[in-house]
Symmetry: none
Subunit: 417 residues, 2 copies
């Protein structure tokens, strides 16, 4: 028996068990995620970004609540934002892989269906012999990408009866193509040869069931490439990450929750929609505006996931002070959220992004559960990494968070007599 | 998919995932294991051996690093040294059983191959009717065991063309026999009837594939017993724990690490060699000499496992002060190791051996990760059981340690986008 076939540790919620225990309640849960929240202490005062930030509201909630820390995917594993959020939502990110084509599509807010196969596209430069001379077409600006996509869409390319094609620009030289029809399958090799001096590859099916889809994509690639053949520098394309909707279990089914997401970045709305959250339309830019959006839909949902992006962005910039400032912005806006009187508030991150590392990291993520009716206060004095390491929840996996939130919300019955 | 079939938490490293994430680096990792490190507080001052020991160097590393505690096999399970080390190496000790014959063979430093079947042997006393009168031959001393093995080896017993046989003394009445050849299989019942007054059993194959090997062992037993038939009190033998190399995944393959072991006791070299570590030859007796050995091979390895035996031995002796003294010896020698400038140092044990219990125990094991570039300091003031229980790493499984070490060494890429 190989290690591969044996290893199957699940970090996901035990959905079968939860389904048996779920009971209705009128309580409301808020999952407030500061992306990349976890940090490292700086040398000057041994404080992390979260510890250094002035956060009287979060600190009050920490005194009233219970702290802990979580590993989003597993101990030692640095998580991307996609897997990190799946973990927070209670889905094992190793078991439930979201293909890159799907991540790209949901990342731009494309409304996927179960009949879709998505691929990420790169515009590239081809020489007179049809060989790739630049895999990224000189990193054309997004506006050029948009113009190329518009031209391709205007050509109204057909590949087969009953098959629709959607092409959308993403950023720079990147676009996404979605093919919709019955029986499409995504087990297809990429067409990017990963080097120059050779032509793009033909899309090859890795199994018999995907052969028709591969042929349809090859037909589309040929026609779409003809449309842009005289453009410069982008006169060709490669497709990668063929994938279809992973058909994740839905929040309503596994948790009995009517859930919505408030996020500024499309990628987070996309991942949330894959687990069945409603994407709540809004024009929010600031955290305060996100909380105002929550107020407008407060009566419509049992569960709101509110995503704050810029903690991660400033961490990746390597800007300790700016990351701390985003945390302070959240703290200052918090009364707007608490005024809605959630029954359970979870405050955490999807992974750590220490500004010292300018990157995601594997360090455990601070976690707070606030639930005035039922929480076992742990005598924490403030919300920070070291307080969380000593917190009453201990060190857990991200997938443990949803059952905890449901329990505090009175939504889980007793197991056994 | 049912939750039941999916839910199967394993305590081993996710080798398949790690393989995808492993990236090369020039960093060096040291795993320093004080065997049986964990202890219990004594009544007089409520200090454990580790806490009572004067350890200025370990305490400084604790202030600079991050502490935690680990369970070698699982919560509540008292681990032997073999499983404890497999856990530290990231291999689920419940899944990867090292057959007792193999443990006995690697325990005496026998260089196993994939064509070997090993068995533990006991010399016993047989009466005139050929029934066992003493299963341990009056616990003969090792010197008698050695003489018997020498006599058997001198007889140059043959069982089949192309099959080699190696017999080695172990200790007291115990020896090991290794049969080497093509197609040998170890699924064979022991020949020890576990009682006196009956003859040794015939080696019986438990499957068809092992029948030939069982017959060869029976042939060998018959001939070897004839060689010692007139000896006293050991004039017979039983064989147990038939086993072959468990073919563990190797460090190079699963972690991308060029690894070596420095250990005074052969058993630890043996277990390490089973996971692909180079056994580094040395004449070290003291911890300082083990560290000097590390210096001589420092440029040759990415990973060094250094094993300190006597913490466990003194714990098993029930000698609190002597165990603390071994810890102090390690502490005093540490500057020699730190002078080599490892990027990541892990200090821990393979299990607890509280001197009050004079035995291995199930208590969690103190753990320290020191990695100046990336560690989240947790404000620990010293290295000890209670500090570790409050440490920033939380309470984890032994198999989580290797992914953490790899992450701190910059050897794991991000998982997912």
């Amino acid at each position: 028996m190989s290690a591969d076939s044996f290893y199957n540790p699940s970090r996901m919620s035990n959905f079968a068990l939860l389904k048996d225990l779920i009971q209705p309640a009128k309580t409301k849960i808020v999952l407030l995620v500061m992306d990349g929240l976890g940090g490292l202490p700086r040398a000057s005062d041994d404080q992390t970004e979260l510890e250094a930030a002035h956060t009287p509201n979060l600190d009050r909630l920490a005194r009233e609540g219970c702290l802990g820390q979580h590993y989003p995917v597993d101990v030692g594993i640095t998580s991307g934002s996609g897997p990190g959020h799946l973990g927070l939502f209670g889905y094992d990110p190793i078991h439930y892989e979201i293909g890159r084509g799907v991540l790209e599509a949901v990342g731009i807010g494309f409304p996927l269906t179960g009949r879709d196969v998505c691929a990420r596209g790169n515009f590239c430069s081809l020489d007179a012999q049809g060989n790739i001379s630049d895999r990224r077409a000189g990193r054309i600006p997004t506006s050029t990408c948009e113009a190329l996509v518009k031209k391709i869409n205007a050509a109204n390319i057909k590949v087969a009866d009953g098959v629709e094609i959607f092409v959308e620009p993403v950023q720079d030289y990147r676009f996404v193509v979605v093919m919709r029809g019955d029986g499409l399958q995504a087990n297809i090799d990429e067409t990017d040869p990963q080097r120059t001096g050779v032509p793009p590859l033909t899309a090859l099916a890795r199994d018999a069931a995907s052969e028709r889809t591969a042929a349809l994509f090859n037909s589309w690639i040929k026609q779409a490439t003809a449309v842009i053949a005289n453009d410069h520098p982008a006169n060709g394309m490669t497709l990668r990450g063929f994938a279809s909707d992973p058909a994740l279990p839905k929040y309503k089914d596994v948790y009995g929750l009517n859930a919505g997401v408030i996020a500024v970045y499309p990628m987070y709305r996309g991942v949330s929609s894959l687990v069945g959250m409603d994407v709540i339309p809004h024009h929010a830019h600031s955290v305060a505006e996100e909380f105002e959006t929550a107020a407008t839909v407060w009566n419509d949902y049992d569960f709101l996931f509110i995503h704050v992006k810029y903690t991660d962005s400033r961490g990746e910039d390597g800007n300790f002070d700016a990351k701390a400032k985003v945390i302070e912005e959240v703290d200052a806006a918090l009364p707007g959220l608490m005024g809605l009187k959630p029954d359970v508030l979870v405050v955490t991150g999807d992974h750590s992004t220490p500004s010292q590392l300018k990157a995601h990291s594997w360090h455990p993520v601070p976690l707070m559960i606030w639930a005035p009716a039922t929480v076992r206060r742990d005598r924490s004095e403030s919300f920070g990494e070291r307080a969380c390491a000593h917190g009453g929840l201990g060190t857990i996996h991200a997938a443990d968070i949803m059952p905890l939130a449901l329990a505090h919300a009175g939504r889980l019955a007793k197991y056994g007599a």
